[in-house]
Structures are given as structure tokens and as C-alpha cells.
């Protein structure tokens, strides 16, 4: 096993263990947990068998396996950014609603006193 393969394996196992802990804490849904296992396992497969990426590249009409990996990584990153954006947006909206409701409630209490 090369150093790169060893480092990647350790990192992937670490990442999956983090995902598992978050899943155990119920901060990660089963869907997200499975998705992360798939993503990291796929990364591991490509590191151990680079020829597999060449097969995917050929099937997708791309020249090299590295190009296919690069394209897939960009697609994945965009998807993750989109998910993060929607999540942050939802948290921001909830925070605004909380602040609004709190201001009305506080005003009501102050006026009753």
C-alpha cells in the first residue's frame, strides 16, 4: 500500500466515524449518513482502483479518469454548497421569526405590568 492510499484510508475512516457520531446524536438524518458513506467509499474505491475512474470517464465521453473525477467533485461541491445555502437560509428565517415573536411578547408583558 502506498503512503497516499494509507493516508486516504485513514482520512475516509475518520470522516465516516464523524458522520456516524453525528448520526448517533441524531444531528444527521439516515439519508445524509448513507450519502456520506457512499461519497467517502467512492473516494476510497477510486484511490485503490484508479482504472475504474477511466472506465467512468469513457462511459461519460470524457478522455481521462482524472477529468471525470474533477467534474464529479465540482458537481458534488456545488450540490453541497446549495444544501448549505438552503439550510443557512432556513435557520436565518427561523431566527428572524423568533426575534419578531419575542419583541411582540416582551412588549405585551411590559404593557401588562
Amino acid at each position: 500500500m502506498t503512503i497516499l492510499k494509507a493516508i486516504t484510508t485513514i482520512f475516509v475512516l475518520f470522516a465516516i466515524s464523524r458522520a456516524y457520531l453525528r448520526f448517533k446524536d441524531r444531528t444527521l438524518s439516515i439519508f445524509s449518513f448513507v450519502l456520506w458513506i457512499l461519497i467517502w467509499s467512492l473516494a476510497l474505491v477510486f484511490v485503490f482502483d484508479p482504472n475504474l475512474s477511466n472506465l467512468i470517464a469513457k462511459a461519460g465521453g470524457l478522455g481521462r479518469g482524472a477529468d471525470a473525477m474533477f467534474l464529479l467533485s465540482i458537481i458534488l461541491l456545488f450540490y453541497l454548497i446549495f444544501r448549505l445555502y438552503t439550510k443557512i437560509d432556513s435557520i436565518d428565517k427561523n431566527l428572524t421569526t423568533l426575534v419578531i415573536e419575542l419583541s411582540k411578547e416582551k412588549h405585551k408583558i411590559n404593557h401588562k405590568e
Binding site: D89, D92, K93, V99, K104, H107
Partner: protein
Amino acid sequence: METKNSSIYIVIPAYNEESKIGSVIADLKTSGYHNILIVNDGSKDNTAKIANEAGAEVLSHIINRGQGSSLRTGIEYLRENYKPDVIITFDADGQHQVSDIPNLIEPILSKKADIALGTRFGEKKSNVSIIKKIVLKIAVIFTNIISNIHLTDTHNGLRALGENAIWKIEISHRGMEHASDIIDEITKKKLTYIEVPVKIVYSEYSKMKGQKTSGFIKMGLKLLIKKLTQ
């Protein structure tokens, strides 16, 4: 808050406006508008205290959330606790003129429109800088395309909402993009609208406090993302 003489309410979002808020409230009261609601948006200065002493009703956000959320607070609070016929949205930095209010109220009370929107590009000349004028015109084109509506000024904070608009309009953006939300809602909820020429007086203070020209680019991007993710 007085309710007996009038059902016209003024909502003023305020963030760190201690130097202006007192005179803005005094001007409104002198002109006979006594139902004034200040939404203190997490100010770190004495805005709330001064507004209270000036005789306005004050609601306070514990943290700063932006002008859109302050207007949402004000409108929601008024419709839950009073029965307003008209709500005027007014700025705290002194750039809006109290003398424009009757012209905004008139089409609402005479049932000509559900909402009256102030425009800087009518016969009343506002001292808008060339750069701001260009940016505002781009914002108008952008909003008109996105919201499928034809207006001359899409980001004017001086407006009057009639009963229909008060109950139907929902502001979803917490920042300055709320102006586009309101226009979007006019189309979505099929509200009738009218543009009323108003005079906006830009002082050094209001330029410092108001929306920066660069903020329009940020706002445009936010609105585009919202449209793409809806």
C-alpha cells in the same frame, strides 16, 4: 398609542437613530399623526428611550435583523392589536417628508388602490445623485422583469398600505430586499397599486445611514438566488 381619532398608523424601523428619531416623531405628531410605532431593530444607542420619551410606541428586537424584519414586526403587531385602515412605512433618518403622507393616504381611503408606493421619479424632484439614479433605474428594470410589474421606483421606503395590503402582504426577506418582496406580493396577491410622487431629501446623515449603492448588487444576487431556489 392613540386610536380614537384615526386609524392611520406610521411604522418606523430604526437602527441606531438616536440623533434623528426624536425630531422625526415630533414632525409627525405636529402634523397630526399620533399613531407612531417604532421598531427598534437591536439598536446599541438610545433610540428606544428617545422614541419612548417622544411619545411613540416602541417594540424592540433583541438583535439587529434588518429593515424588512422590522417592518414585518410592525405590520404584524398592528394588525394583531389594532384595526388599521392605513399603515404608512416611514424612514427614521429624516429623508421622508411628512407633507407627502396625505397624498399617499388619499388613494387608499378613496379605494383607488390597495397600496400607494412613493416614487422619487415623479414631478417632485428629489436630490438623488447620478450614480444612485443609475443604480435605482437598474433596480427598477431588474424588479420589473422579476416581478412582472411596471413601476418607476421599486425601492422607495415611503408607502401606504390599505387594509387589503396590510392583511395580504407577507415580507419574507429581512433586509433591504423587502422592497422587492412587497412588489412581488402585489403581483402574487393581485393587489391594486398606484405610484405617488414623493420628495426624498438626502442629507449627509441619511446618505451615511441609508443603503449603499454597492448594497444593490448584493441585494440583486440575493433575489436571484431566492428565485432560483424557490
